[in-house]
Symmetry: C2
Subunit: 341 residues, 2 copies
């Protein structure tokens, strides 16, 4: 369970899922700061962090402060843009199939330096507000429900066809490119492409390599999903750790959770996966069927990461912030140039 995020579980709340999530979240929080100690029991601990490979001094701590789900609603776009412009968030990823993608694509076009990846999306996990694939629905039948939307969730019995996944991922990237977005990286909404087995991971890895884009994977996930490590090559960027808040953190402990995570950061590159948004009418309506990753949750993320205490803790701890663009550039210069791949 090392570093595994419960976010890949069905977001469509069921009592049993909530219980599982809470159990896993507790486990994740405990294990997060123990890191390699635990990992060594399960897999060989890599000798070098990504920071080491990039030539940073030993023990150096770097973070990517990464906002997810841009394009999903206007509220999320507005909060992410405000946090990016305040310098609080330094990277984000965009959901191409979502209705508000044109707004954030327009912003990306006029802010070519923004560190924007694509948040590859194969589900429409909300109830009252939904979207479907970019590819023609008859070309990706295993990805859609009877009404033509992406599935709310992937049930255990459901066969997701890797061919459909590849068709849809390429369609999402092509639409983003056609609309003027120049992505710096890829990642996977709800970790579907990471946590659903080797077949789908190999699809996204192939697509990412074709487009010469890094895909967000962290060593934290290797113990539970050994196929990740097996499919990756030395020429692929692998993030050392990830931090994401979980449903069992009560609202009043929000800042404490993140401050502790920053104090206890391990050496290497850590991606903070956060979900800023404004707790307004639109986001409350779009997320009203459950509180997890809902409007108030996203407002709390917005508030912590734009706060003075976050900025101060990063400075106090001597943490360096880094973008995906910088990572990829340094990786090309320091690692790829010298490797045979």
């Amino acid at each position: 369970m090392t570093g595994r995020s419960p976010d890949f579980l069905p977001e469509y709340s069921l009592p049993v899922c909530d219980l599982l999530r809470a159990m896993m979240a507790r486990l994740t929080v405990r294990i997060l700061f123990v890191g390699c100690l635990f990992s060594t029991l399960l897999i060989e601990c890599p000798a070098q962090t990504l920071a080491d490979r990039l030539g940073y001094p030993a023990g150096m701590k770097l973070i990517i402060v990464h906002a997810d789900d841009l394009g999903e609603t206007h509220s999320v776009n507005a909060a992410a843009i405000k946090a990016l412009e305040a310098g609080a968030v330094n990277s984000a990823s965009l959901m191409v199939p979502c209705p508000w993608f044109p707004e954030i694509a327009d912003y990306a076009k006029s802010h070519a330096d923004a560190d924007f990846g694509l948040h590859l999306t194969l589900t429409a996990e909300r109830v009252y507000y939904r979207w479907g694939p970019v590819a023609p629905i008859d070309k990706v039948p295993s990805l859609v429900d009877q009404n033509g939307y992406f599935h709310h969730d992937w049930e255990a019995h459901q066969r997701i066809n890797p061919k459909d996944v590849e068709t849809e991922l390429r369609a999402q990237i092509e639409r983003a490119l056609a609309m003027g977005v120049r992505p710096t990286h890829l990642d996977s909404h709800q970790y579907r492409l990471i946590m659903s087995g080797k077949e789908l991971f190999d699809v996204v890895l192939r697509v990412a390599r074709d487009y010469k884009l890094p895909i967000f994977v962290t060593r934290d996930w290797f113990a539970d999903h050994p196929y990740l490590q097996a499919s990756l090559r030395s020429g692929d960027i692998v993030i050392d750790h990830t931090v994401t808040i979980e449903p069992d953190v009560p609202p009043e402990k929000w800042a404490e959770f993140y401050l502790n995570a920053l104090k206890n950061l391990q050496p290497g590159v850590t991606e903070f996966i956060i979900h800023p948004g404004f707790d307004d009418e639109e986001l409350r309506a779009a997320t009203r069927e459950r509180a997890t990753w809902g409007a108030a949750w996203r407002q709390r993320d917005y508030e912590f990461f734009t706060s003075e205490q976050f900025r101060q803790m990063v400075a106090q701890q001597g943490i360096k912030v880094i973008t995906w663009r910088e990572l990829a550039q340094q990786f090309r210069e320091k690692v790829s140039a010298g490797s045979t791949k």
Copy 2:
């Protein structure tokens, strides 16, 4: 130009369009209250109004207070629901391809008496917030732009394939039915299916007849579009008149425009096409590229139609409000039963 609404013109503002709109709007407002006087110069004035055919006393005035664009944004859904529940609006139509359709479909399912039609939609006229067809995009190629969204607008040189239109209309109706909506009528977003020539009108008429649903057409449009009258049969419901506010009405004259329209109402059945919405963050962002049919416009519509002065004027003038469901029921009893069609 009698009764023709400038709304069918490209909503994507261009100076020349604005000028044309303003010219046409002025013309519409003047002509609206002159009605049959003008029409007689162009076409034969029908002997009977729809109200006459339904057996209402001579000179009776009936109105449908109809909210458009439900499903387009949450703000529009919320305002329409509030206006419907206040008894201010008594009919509405839903945009099936839009992201917030599931919210209003859910409401429709649990409010089976609501007078909800389908607002058949073949364009995505906004800039920062967009949607595409319900049918697979490769089955309706003439309806989509290079990114897979519905066209912003239909350019003069653009060939819209009637086959694609039929495929998409049927897909929209089938999705609505599958999601539990039982529509009482059909109408056409931006009047595209009414004002774009006989071929497309015949498509929607065929589809409407197949599903045994009335399609909103008014005699006000016959002079400009003679094919409407030519394609209609005595078994089709034809509304007598329509009132819709236009861009040349300044905000401070909003109530005056509607109050005058109610005072000068002609005998027969008149559909008021209105666009309630809340002037909130979401709607302001979704409509920010132009003020026409924007957030403030929709808030003004919401305010007038939920006002006491609207209710009082309807009562003072002895106007009867009627829904599409009631119209269709009375039409079946009084007209269809006795006609050979």
